[in-house]
Symmetry: C2
Subunit: 309 residues, 2 copies
Amino acid sequence: MPEAGAAPLGRLAIVGLGLIGSSIARGARRYGLAETIVAIDRDEAVQTRVRDLGLADQVTGDAAEGVAGADLVILCVPVGAVGAVAAEIAPHLAPRAILSDVGSVKGSVVAAVAPHLPEGVAFVPGHPVAGTEYSGPDAGFSTLFQNRWCILTPPEGTDEAAVARVRGLWEGLGAIVETMSPEHHDLVLAITSHVPHLIAYNIVGTAADLEEVTQSEVIKFSAGGFRDFTRIAASDPTMWRDVFLTNKDAVLEMLGRFNEDLAALARAIRWGDGEALHALFTRTRAIRRGIVAMGQETAEPDFGRRKEG
Amino acid sequence: MPEAGAAPLGRLAIVGLGLIGSSIARGARRYGLAETIVAIDRDEAVQTRVRDLGLADQVTGDAAEGVAGADLVILCVPVGAVGAVAAEIAPHLAPRAILSDVGSVKGSVVAAVAPHLPEGVAFVPGHPVAGTEYSGPDAGFSTLFQNRWCILTPPEGTDEAAVARVRGLWEGLGAIVETMSPEHHDLVLAITSHVPHLIAYNIVGTAADLEEVTQSEVIKFSAGGFRDFTRIAASDPTMWRDVFLTNKDAVLEMLGRFNEDLAALARAIRWGDGEALHALFTRTRAIRRGIVAMGQETAEPDFGRRKEG
């Protein structure tokens, strides 16, 4: 594990206290990564919960007030809202503040934030590849990012010290940091996250709309495989709408490949080509072994849903 | 919970000691559901493991010998092998024996077994909707069927007493038994199990074949959703090849609906129809709530992969 980066931050402002924002707040507190944590959320119900849970030193609905004097401001709002929030807070950022985000799409975020960036403020876009199917300030936990990757996509010429500060925060939260271009990020995440979510949402929708099979039957017999898809199809609708709208090209490209492969598979079924099916079904086991070996997944049968043997 | 059916079986013969067969053996022993358990497997390595694990009272590779005198014979082999095994054992079945199976497809199994069925032997096809991604005699456990559905598809006119015996065994193993026609079973399972497995296998294959994204990247960033699909894409290749070859019509029908819906979703993305996306993504949450409420799934975030808060 790399060392956590240097001294803790002075003032850390988090905009949006959902699953990710509230997990950063919890982790920053627990691991001593900032002297002062400011929570900014325009939703009053969220502000109340954040106060009740004691997640921050200061809680406000006023973004201008909240970001004033912050060393690092992290935007944890749906990617479709990042541009508007950046525009709102830009005039109030401290002269040498660092701005970052946690959006699941990076190209569109860079394009949305760039026009608003004040002179002297560095923007270090980030994406922690971690989460659960739950949303809101109660859903977060301090260990969410432990042993998960966080991708940073700083544009060329970004202040190195600013990148190091953001890297230090993520390493302090237990993440492994990797850097790549926004374009490559969006392609990688299209296949490892966005298309999987899309087809999960899709099959759950298909199953709900059948006439020959009742919804009650779908639910009862879901242990045959379907229920695994319903987990990711329970993720936050606004966040995911924005992901698909802002990473359209990469998603449609990867979806095109998925569809080509699926058409070939359907053809193998129609023509009874058992060898082709068996070959694919054998090959796919290796990828899972790699994921388990890299600590990105549990090896317990059935995700360890059953404890008893 | 319904009562376990009457007296225990005398002699229970299990053909094929994989995940399902070995779980039945373990459960029958633990819950006292049979006086004598006979394990039949033509694979010598499996016979040795079954002996070492002490899963049965008698272990043999000779199906004729193993089924002799059995009150109930359950075929736990891939559905593509059920017909051949039925033909092999038929002449050796006791006069009033009951034959059953656990195949994930029922129409083809009924068609494959019927021609071999001796006079006086009742065939009660069954399918426990339970499993994990692991295979073989070491993968089984006695509680695999607890609170899971088991579907029986007895043809019209099947001896009621035979159906009650098979139902009693499954209830004794903790399952909830439901009866339906083989045709309806195959349609229900096509959407709740077969198509989910097909698209999981497919996306894992697509991801493995990309040139722009390396396999190492797919593995590292799999926590964004992809890893959930790799679990079911690690299931037994022979079993699943047979499922797709023997439930071709229902699978292709359900896959056609999935594809129609996916095309509409891709179109919504291309045209930026955020409302349509948000509406679907909201609707799909309800189905998961139903599955969790019915005890078919854990409500723990991320399948409870993380224990700490």
